[in-house]
Symmetry: C2
Subunit: 195 residues, 2 copies
DNA sequence: GATTAACACGAACGATCGTGCTAAAAAAGC
DNA sequence: GCTTTTTTAGCACGATCGTTCGTGTTAATC
């Protein structure tokens, strides 16, 4: 049985997530990762077989981590409270001191948005999934004339802008801005759509 | 007089912007850039003296380009119409077929959000500038109880989410979503802030 | 026409990139 | 305790990275 291999694989991916957070998935190099563990380059490489496999594994590992942190939100019924919980979780994830460059998935989204390959496909799957979940929560309480996908788009917008304001601009008010934006969005979702 | 040098420098930066759009500012390599022009690696390098100087110059060039495209908006008074024009301009810029990876500045924002150095400082200056301009347009018509910085944050959110939906997800409805989000934001700006 | 400055080039540097191959060490199964 | 499988290390490869240097070519100045 593969026992030892799995635990070192997890150790590798934890560190890979950290490095990818700062330097991006492409900037994540096998040599630097091996040196940080520490481990031999070839020994590490044998776990994945290719760089893009390592990139995909790192992405999935990051997605799994944030999924676990958001798990308590599943107890809440889909609706405003769950959305507030998700936003808090994402904001804490973006500001996680263990991730010196913010969310590695967000980074990869910009890095690989136009590069075909397995990494992009993994990203698409992950992002479509979270988009769908946000839309569900909006649909649970929004006015029937409102489009859940529209609201989910704006929810995503808030998290992206928070990443931008918090990490690049280092703006202290970023948290307030994001919370207020969500409250306004929740309020609007309950009203009928104008036009 | 530096005559020939300036024109080749512009040619270099045009191509650098294209490559940085797809591969990021760090993925922009001197060798690949020289091969694409075509030009010798050393001849190109002499124009900038270092890679980070090339990165900064590429960023400034991109900012100048988008500034020129947004210039007609200066004729409009600060307010909703100008905001609509800016959003249209940014969306066209993000979808520009000459930029195979979307806006290179947005890419750099995620790539360099936690890497100290001249590139990050350039980004900070550029982003603070556009943030300030958006806040001005909101302040021109918003209800006094509204915070222009809050509204500018949400305006940025829309453009970031559009980049995400259009380039990564390749979602056709992205344009509609962004326009609707802006209209909702403009409408809210005119109303007093609740509580 | 001679001098000088600006510009581009080719070659080479040490370093690091991703990726194989082979053998030693460690763990697992009996 | 031995065998078999899994995991790691060592070493080397071709390619590419940013950068430096010396040289030639072109254009402007006197």
């Amino acid at each position: 049985m593969a026992e030892k291999g799995d635990s070192t694989r997890a150790r590798i991916l934890d560190e890979a997530m950290r490095i990818a957070s700062r330097d991006g998935l492409e900037g994540l190099s096998i040599g630097a990762l091996a040196a940080a563990l520490p481990m031999s380059k070839s020994g590490l490489f044998a776990h994945f077989g290719s760089k893009s496999a390592l990139q995909v594994a790192t992405l999935e590992h990051a997605a799994q981590t944030v999924r676990e942190r958001a798990a308590p939100g599943a107890r809440l019924a889909p609706g405003p409270e769950r959305l507030r919980f998700i936003l808090r979780t994402i904001m804490a994830w973006i500001d996680d001191p263990g991730l010196p460059g913010g969310c590695p998935i967000t980074g990869a989204c910009v890095e690989f948005d136009d590069r075909e390959g397995p990494v992009r496909e993994t990203l698409l799957r992950l992002q479509r999934d979270t988009q769908r979940r946000a839309a569900e929560s909006f649909a649970a309480f929004a006015h029937p004339s409102q489009d859940p996908d529209q609201l989910a788009f704006e929810f995503r917008a808030i998290t992206l802008a928070y990443h931008h304001a918090s990490r690049l601009l280092r703006e202290e008010r970023a948290g307030d801005w994001a919370r207020r934006a969500l409250e306004a969005l929740i309020a609007r979702a309950g009203r009928p759509m104008p036009d």
